[in-house]
């Protein structure tokens, strides 16, 4: 797996993360390493997720459950943001008439009236 790290390599890359803290985060499902015959492998996505988890723990004093909730919301929001960007890209490539029709439908279903 490209760029994947072993447990020891990960701990070396994140000096502020203790072995016990890593075990807690794995047990809580906050991070799920890839299983392999030679032990767990941590992908770049796991590495980045752990860094964010540590930042959040530090800033908000979250326990594992709270952390899991926050990360789940971040995944949902950022995932939607990615979907939305893809959708907007597709809409931008459409003809003006098509976009006008879409605008009309969107206005009917999601009316936002801004005063002043």
């Amino acid at each position: 797996m490209t760029g994947a790290m072993s447990r020891d390599e990960l701990l070396a890359a994140l000096p502020d993360l203790s072995e016990a803290a890593l075990d807690d985060l794995i047990r809580a499902g906050v991070v799920q390493p890839v299983q392999s015959g030679s032990g767990p492998l941590f992908r770049p996505v796991d590495h980045a997720r752990l860094q964010l988890a540590m930042d959040l723990q530090d800033a908000y004093a979250l326990d594992e459950d709270g952390l899991a909730l926050v990360l789940s919301l971040i995944d949902q929001v950022n995932g939607l943001r990615g979907d939305m960007q893809a959708m907007l890209g597709a809409v931008a490539a459409e003809a003006p008439e098509t976009r006008a029709r879409m605008r009309q439908v969107i206005r009917q279903t999601r009316i936002t009236i801004r005063h002043g």
Binding site: M1, A4, I26, R27, G29, V30, Q32, V34, Q35, S36, G37, G39, P40, L41, P44, V45, H47, A48, R49, Q51, L52, D55, D58, A59, Y60, A68, L69, L71, S72, I74, D75, Q76, N78, G79, L80, R81, G82, D83, Q85, A86, M87, A90
Partner: protein, 314 residues
């Protein structure tokens, strides 16, 4: 980073350690690039993180205050933020989005939108249970196996997040992306509910010597120039042990020899083929005898190895 780490954190030069920490946390809360879209916030966070790295260590801070070191050289190594992954397609930790009545529109546009998702973190724990008998959650994992284990079948030992070890049977002919279901190895059920399953998505690791093309297996077999010129019988490895392979006279690099029915197992009991791709390897040293012979040979028998390519107009 800014020249003045105190300014980056918005504290005075006489600030206490606690004040510095507090200032950093405040910036981390508002400006963390994973939580804030604004590029300016990103810059503020980067500067504050570098400043905090310098000032949190009293010794480093004292050296900076005395002018022995400057704020430069404190740049953190380029960090890859989680946003880069969580916003991209195929984030293994993201749950499936549910767009209600428009689920099939979403699936039509984005692929497997309504299908069970791959990989990742369970979010089910936050939903409300309607009954006290509830089937346990399915747990999803990604399991990496090497090429030969996937092709030949075998067992891999894995450690579940709760610390339990589990021997997983990998069926022969497993493909990248295939899912293995382990019944009852997921989360515990509630009340009378049965436990969930563990679902392992296989990731077949790349192998320097073996690769799969659909149901077929491709390997590269190095041969010497004399074997290429004169033909030979050479041993080649297959998924099920070595075979003697006849190298035809005058074989070129890239020529593929087919071993029928020695590829990956297909459902229904048949198998793909194994292709052995020849690769001519020169001797470690070209001695005088070989060079002299070639010179003489070229005098009478020179040929254009690139004639084919030229005909193709390239």
């Amino acid at each position: 980073m800014a020249d003045d780490p105190y300014a980056a954190l918005g504290v005075s030069r006489t600030a206490t350690e606690a004040e510095i920490k507090k200032a950093y946390r405040r910036i981390a809360k508002t400006d963390h690039p994973d939580l804030n879209d604004d590029p300016a916030a990103h810059e503020r966070f980067k500067a504050a993180a570098a400043a905090y790295d310098l000032l949190k260590d009293p010794e480093q801070r004292a050296r900076f205050d005395r002018g022995e070191i400057d704020a430069q050289g404190q740049e953190r190594p380029q960090r890859q933020y989680y946003r880069d992954f969580s916003q991209g397609a195929g984030n293994p930790y993201r749950g499936e989005a549910n767009y209600g009545d428009f689920s099939d529109v979403f699936a039509d546009l984005f692929g497997e939108g309504g299908a069970p998702r791959r990989g990742g973190f369970r979010q089910g724990g936050f939903g409300g249970a309607r009954s006290f008998d509830m089937r346990g959650q399915d747990y999803r994992y990604t399991l990496e196996v090497d090429f030969l284990t996937a092709a030949r079948g075998g067992t891999t030992r894995i450690t579940l997040p709760d610390g339990h070890m589990l021997d997983v049977n990998i069926p022969a002919g497993s493909r990248d992306g295939q899912t293995i279901r382990l019944r009852g190895k997921g989360g515990a059920g509630m009340g009378e509910g049965s436990p969930g399953d563990a679902l392992l998505t296989l990731h077949v690791a790349q192998d320097p010597d073996w690769r799969a093309e659909g149901d077929d297996v491709v390997t590269t077999l190095p041969i010497s120039i004399d074997e290429a010129v004169l033909g030979a019988k050479v041993e080649a490895q297959t998924l099920h042990g070595p075979v003697m392979l006849t190298i035809p006279k005058g074989a070129s690099t890239g020529r593929k020899l087919r071993l029928r029915g020695r590829g990956l197992a297909k459902p229904g009991g048949t198998r793909g083929d194994h292709f052995v791709e020849l690769k001519i390897v020169m001797p470690p040293q070209v001695d005088d005898e070989l060079a002299n012979f070639m010179e003489k040979w070229r005098g009478k028998h020179a040929y254009d190895a690139r004639a084919e390519q030229r005909r193709g107009g390239r």
